[in-house]
């Protein structure tokens, strides 16, 4: 009863992981003489390689009344081919006149998985038609069955969302859209920044809580763009002295020692210039400071908690900022992390992250119940 709410948290996964399998038709035949099996597999592999179905097992074994019975895939059914006109073995092997049909019996067509299954559920669905290969991704399995986080982690997740709910409520009192955000360090659970929405009171359409919080993180690293006045509930970790000095040192060239894969491939990203060119003492110094303050590059290794699913602007801001995980309470029809789009797993983008919805869902829903 006590942990009831944690059960509603769900990973928001890419469509290809949650949809059911797609199938294609193939011609297959009974094997009447088991001794011919390996020869048939070899020869069929030469004349009809299953290039588009590399995950399919060519032969399957059916058990009927204690008796084993083998069947083999011959070739794919052409899409244009009329299924009502069932061909004969001779017609199928027309193009391969030398092929020895010994051992092949009754010809039939059947459905097999178009792609290799990615999840256990898809595997079982595919398997019920024809055996296929499957490499289980254990992390994905945990995401799907809700064991990705330990109990302690789930409690911590709820605590952080509770903070976000209270911030949203604080904003609501002052006439704001009730959205609260908390950004925490993934490893230490230390809160780095927290705030709520200001789009109404500041009459600035860009002041979405997520955008504000991302800027507060930049502030905590000695940067930041928005001059947000002291607002109750707004908080950011004050930059360490080391970070300040880092900011001074890097004012001319930008952050000097980020991991290589973070280089200038963001939309209009932080640029790492001349890192290899000028391995000067200054750069080494910068590296030292970065070691002291290891969380100092954008939102790398930070988790974000928000009461409501972010919009396209905010979701893409989190891609640019390299957020680690996102947790949200309730969905929004125009939301971009599961509802309208799944920007966190959008093919083609250079950064992907894990998203979880339904954290303290009831409490979050209550924030929005009086609106609309």
């Amino acid at each position: 009863m006590k942990m009831k709410h944690s059960g509603t948290m769900k990973a928001v996964l890419a469509d290809d992981l949650t949809k059911s399998m797609e199938f294609v038709r193939v011609y297959a035949a009974d094997i009447t003489n088991k001794k011919e099996t390996s020869r048939l597999v070899k020869q069929l592999g030469e004349i009809f390689p299953l290039t588009r179905l590399p995950h399919m097992k060519r032969v399957r074994c059916l058990k009927e009344n204690e008796e084993k019975h083998l069947q083999i895939i011959l070739c794919c059914v052409d899409q244009e081919e009329d299924l009502s006109s069932s061909p004969t073995l001779n017609e199928i092997f027309q193009k391969a006149p030398g092929f020895d049909q010994t051992g092949l019996g009754n010809l039939f067509s059947t459905r097999v998985a178009r792609n290799q299954p990615k999840t256990r559920a898809q595997f079982e669905e595919a398997q019920s038609h024809w055996p296929t290969s499957f490499h289980e991704d254990l992390e994905l399995t945990k995401l799907l069955n809700g064991t990705y986080f330990t109990k302690t982690e789930q409690e911590r997740i709820n605590l952080h969302m509770q903070m976000a709910v209270e911030l949203a409520d604080q904003g609501k009192q002052s006439g704001e859209v009730p959205i609260g955000v908390v950004i925490v360090n993934s490893d230490s659970s230390e809160v780095v920044a927290s705030c709520y929405d200001l789009r109404n009171t500041a009459s600035n359409p860009l002041y979405h809580a997520v955008m504000l919080c991302v800027d507060l993180v930049a502030r905590s690293q000695g940067g930041g763009a928005w001059e947000i006045q002291d607002t109750p509930g707004f908080w950011w970790r004050k930059p360490h002295e080391a970070s300040n000095r880092l900011a001074d040192l890097s004012s001319d060239t930008s952050l000097g020692s980020q991991p290589d894969n973070l280089q200038n491939d963001v939309g209009q990203p932080t640029l790492v210039r001349d890192v290899t060119e000028s391995q000067s003492g200054q750069n080494n110094l910068k590296r030292k400071f970065n070691e002291l303050d290891d969380s100092s590059y954008l939102c790398t290794n930070l988790d974000l908690y928000v009461t409501q699913e972010p919009c396209s602007m905010c979701a893409m801001a989190l891609v640019h900022s390299r957020i680690h995980h996102v947790f949200y309470g309730v969905t929004h029809p125009d939301g971009a992390l599961g509802s309208r789009y799944k920007i966190h797993c959008q093919p083609g983008l250079n950064h992907h992250f894990q998203v979880f919805r339904g954290v303290l869902e009831e409490k979050c829903r209550n924030l929005y119940s009086e609106i609309t």
């Binding site: 009459s203 600035n204 359409p205 860009l206 955008m211 991302v214 800027d215 993180v217 930049a218 690293q221 000695g222 940067g223 930041g224 763009a225 900011a247 060239t253 930008s254 952050l255 280089q263 200038n264 491939d265 963001v266 939309g267 209009q268 990203p269 932080t270 640029l271 210039r273 954008l298 919009c311 396209s312 602007m313 905010c314 979701a315 893409m316 801001a317 891609v319 640019h320 900022s321 390299r322 929004h332 029809p333 125009d334 971009a336 309208r340 789009y341 920007i343 959008q346 083609g348 983008l349 250079n350």
Partner: protein, 165 residues
């Protein structure tokens, strides 16, 4: 009006000179520039400081200083930018209620006006914002040049600027 647009490549160039990705933009209302922006990600350590965001803020100030409602002004304001806005900026332009975006080359890595997603013209359920009109092609060649200059020999993950034919 068209004379003003000569400023656009200079905005982008200015960003380049400061070591930022060469993206610059102008917000034009009734023949006058009410907002300018160039990419400022490095300087602020905030990866969301794209040229478009800065320009929108400048234009909001412009409205505030003249005591006019930004919504009315923005409904007749066009953005000129040398690269297709990314998904975030396209979202910001929608939220702000701007009328049109005229851009240079397409942004094959992050574009929000159709290249990756079409945030500029999707139908929303909770607001009645009109869609953002998109017109590609302005200073496309110059933009590709600038981006190439920026990324030259630097990174295999460089954005993929393309001139829309």
């Amino acid at each position: 009006m068209t004379k003003l647009l000569f400023l656009l490549p200079f905005q982008a160039k200015a960003a380049l000179l400061q070591g930022e990705v060469p993206v610059g933009c102008l917000l034009v209302y009734d023949g006058q520039i009410i907002g300018k922006g160039k990419n400022g990600v490095n300087f602020t350590k905030n990866a969301t400081r794209h040229a478009e965001m800065l320009a929108i803020e400048e234009a909001l100030d412009w409205c505030k200083n003249r005591n006019v409602a930004y919504k009315e002004v923005f409904a007749r304001t066009d953005l000129y930018v040398n690269v297709e806005p990314c998904i975030m900026c396209a979202g910001a332009l929608r939220i702000s209620g701007l009328r049109r975006v005229v851009y240079g080359c397409s942004n094959e890595r992050f574009g929000g006006c159709g290249s990756i997603l079409d945030v500029a013209s999707d139908q929303r359920t909770t607001d009645s914002q009109p869609v953002l009109q998109c017109v590609p092609g302005i200073f496309a060649e110059t933009s590709v040049q600038l981006l190439k200059e920026f990324y030259r020999g630097q990174n295999p993950n460089a954005p993929n600027p393309k001139v829309k034919k």
